[in-house]
């Protein structure tokens, strides 16, 4: 982008030695369908710039999407740097150059997508008479293009895209009312398994009718991929070296220790062809690589960005992430997953004497990743002697994430890379289920 290169030269004339520009363009499309009609149709494109300056070991930051006034934004970043704490660990990537532009298959035209989504809604209604309400069928797509330029010779451009479809339904048999939701994602339209969406959401909703709470007890839980990935994303912040360094990780001081079952491997690999968002470079311009975080139950490595790595005289693991141009780099992940095992989900269920097969977890954002304590709402089907049995609702599952990790005793073979964090089905033993 020419204007970025010109502006970088301008900052040099202004006498700011170290400058980094992070420019991002986001295209968003949104379609939601309700009662056979378009409820909401959106099309948008925007771009914005974050400017980081480094002066006398002090970092300053400002962002804007008003590209006609960049000198004011630069001045603000300088002003901010003047009051920052001195910190000689802050650094920019040096001489990282490259273009990582991926070509994606075109989606069908809008009118076809709209017709298709209307069909999806119809199919949900026609699955079962007890389906009283489809709240909506929502499809959304994001296309992101990022540029990193700095005064140390880094000049990068990369892109990625993803899309998803979401639906939520209400079911009733006249006596009881329940709801369920499901979500499918992919990079391109063809990746999305609409049929599975229809089947899953209707099965979960109707199966929950008549659900009751359970007596409080310790039991096993079986967590399917859609829910397991959500728990893993909460847990993943414990792998961040930033949290470890600041005493905010339950994994602090445990490097090399056995923290999980032998069968558990957790990997972060943005270079993989399978990755939902494959990335050659992270958001600081560092090359990404494959890492085992947990191998055969042992804690192998934490995730680093340039700043946290410098603090320990290490190399960045390529995990510098910026959630958007409005945010500073943090430690993040691009393709984090639990390595699949050998059994199918059905085979895992067969091994359970008494336990809960989880449909949905409620209040995952309430988990405190620092202490690791959790207590979240759950519903699903009770498993008795290896068979799915009666529906369960209004129970909580609780414990500490550290114990939870040790309690994962089996991992399914069913993994789909449809998110930046993914997991196969997990079998977790000795979990407190609180109910009546």
């Amino acid at each position: 982008m020419e204007f970025l290169e010109e502006f970088l030269i301008y900052t040099q004339k202004k006498g700011v030695k170290d400058v980094e520009l992070f420019y991002q363009e986001v295209e968003k499309e949104h379609i939601s369908i309700c009662d056979g009609e378009i409820e909401n149709f959106q099309l948008s494109k925007e771009g914005g710039l974050g400017i980081r300056v480094l002066r006398y070991c002090r970092q300053g930051f400002a962002y804007t999407n008003n590209l006609s006034n960049l000198d004011i934004t630069l001045e603000k970043a300088i002003k901010a740097s003047e009051q920052m704490s001195e910190d000689d660990n802050i650094m920019f990537s040096k001489g990282s150059k490259g273009i990582d532009i991926k070509e994606y298959k075109e989606d069908p035209p809008n009118y076809k997508k709209i017709e298709f989504l209307k069909e999806v809604e119809k199919k949900i209604y026609s699955k079962d008479k007890r389906i009283k309400r489809v709240k909506n069928v929502t499809w959304e797509k994001y296309k992101i293009r990022s540029f990193i330029l700095n005064t140390l010779g880094t000049n990068l451009e990369y892109n990625y895209q993803y899309q998803y479809v979401y639906t939520e339904i209400g079911v009733s048999d006249g006596k009881d009312e329940k709801s369920s939701w499901d979500f499918k994602s992919g990079r391109v339209w063809d990746d999305i398994d609409f049929e599975d969406l229809v089947n899953k959401v209707t099965w979960k909703g109707t199966a929950l009718l008549g659900a009751k709470s359970k007596k409080s007890q310790r039991a096993e839980i079986i967590i399917p991929p859609s829910q397991a990935k959500d728990i893993l994303s909460v847990f993943a912040s414990a792998f961040s070296s930033d949290n470890v360094q600041k005493g905010k990780s339950i994994l602090k001081g445990l490097l090399g220790e056995k923290i999980a079952h032998d069968k558990l491997n957790i990997i972060e690999d943005p270079t993989s062809e399978n990755a939902f968002i494959r990335r050659e470079f992270d958001d600081e311009g560092v090359k990404t690589k494959k890492k085992y975080l947990i191998k055969n139950g042992y804690l192998e490595e934490y995730l680093y960005n340039l700043y946290t790595a410098k603090k320990e005289n290490k190399e960045s693991t390529g995990n510098g992430e910026r959630i958007n141009y409005r945010a500073l780099p943090n430690v993040g992940f691009f393709n984090l997953f639990i390595e699949p095992g050998e059994k199918t989900e059905e085979e895992i269920i067969k091994t359970v004497k008494e336990g809960l097969y989880v449909f949905s977890l409620m209040g995952l954002h309430l988990i405190d990743p620092i202490s690791g304590d959790f207590s979240i709402g759950a519903d699903g089907l009770w498993i008795r002697n290896g068979e799915l049995a009666e529906p369960v609702c209004e129970v909580t599952i609780s414990g500490n994430l550290k114990d939870f990790l040790k309690s994962i005793v089996d991992v399914g073979n069913n993994i789909t890379f449809d998110n930046t964090v993914v997991s196969p089905t997990l079998r977790v033993i000795n979990i407190m289920i609180a109910g009546k």
């Binding site: 909401n40 930051f61 999407n65 590209l67 002003k79 600041k246 005493g247 202490s371 979240i376």
Partner: protein, 462 residues
Amino acid sequence: MNSKIIEDILEISLKRGGDFAEIYFEETKSIYFRIEDKKIEEITFGEDYGVGIRVIKEDKTFYGYTQDVSFNGLEKLSRNISEIIYEERPEKIISLEEKDFKTKVRIIKDLKDIEIKEGVDFLKFMDEKARSYDQRIVQFTGIIRSVDQNVIIANSEGEFKEDKRLRTAIYALSVGSKNGLIQTGIDAYGVFSGWNIITIDLIEKISLDSSRRAILMLEAVDAPAGVMPVVISSKAGGVIIHEAVGHGLEGDLVNKNASVYAGKIGQKVASEAISLVDAGTLDGNYGSFAFDDEGIPSQYNILIEKGILKGYMHSRITAKKMGVKPTGNGRRQNYRFPPIPRMTNTFLLPGKISPNEIINSVDRGIYVVKMGGGQVDTISGDFVFAVEEGYLIEKGKIIKPIRGATLIGNGPKILESIEMVGNDLSFTHGTCGKDMQGVPVSDGMPTILIPQITIGGTKKED
């Protein structure tokens, strides 16, 4: 941007057969300070501006946004979003009224008046206070954020409004550690005001409270699991009311029959002790404003009166569908989103009983002083909440702190069961998420007793 250009764009937006068109301009400036690890880790100046154009045709919304505010940029956007409506219509002439500017805020210190040095000093003071509370405090994060949002809304009915909103929030997180056990304590304060609201006393209290909570949790016992009575202090704020009831009274969910409260106007939905209000008009509350994000003035809306359902919260679209007037609840996170019905400042009106009397009435149960976040399923009314600071009650006395508790239950059932409502009231602020949009809100509640609710804890009740 002059009104002639706006009129032209609105006219173009309706050309393909839309019934209603609207332009929403927003310019938001923010400053954000963060201290962590005893260092000022971030000072960020932010600037975000853009225009959202909305066209409504029957029940359908067509929306898009841009940062290109030139006539050409806006024209292109309005053509792109309305293209999908096929009907050609004769041109409608739009003439805007005089612009009506209102604000709920007394502007003492604008963002541009903020001394950066002052923000840094505030944070260093907070860090020092929080760490000096107890030597077991091993980490402290302090955040101060001040936002200045200006919005202009014009629509094809000729309405033309402007609102200025200043909001300031302070957040403290203390981490306590003892023998390998880590616990956190949080305190936060948010208000509809500029930077001038921050005083030394205020930030000292916030810092000490966050550290006190972290230490308390180190000493706490595991929360019991099972069904029990729970007293929720007014200090905990009204997040439970917001989640368990508030969302179900939002017009979009009601219209879609995706709420347990749909079709129940005039019916008894709660015990007689319950009266619920949502008011965007309150002075200084985080969820206040002069005009909502559709240009409707904020209002004081009684939703439930002595247990009887009186009304819902509406945007223009949902009000029209139900044949009522909009209630000033059409809100959006920013210009990137179309407005939807949202809460503002939602609160339960106080009763007559003293908080102590309520606690004393419990033989064995839980006393909640601070709530964490929560979540609700509006179709069934099932909700879950985290308890940030809670205690065991035995024989009417508060005995010891508990950790890791959540409350799980069903909104309508709980509302029917609440009989004891205290004579106190206080608010907490927060950001409410719905349909991927976050908006500033506040929630208030007197001290109440929930006779029976499921506590999700790690310790099995014997």
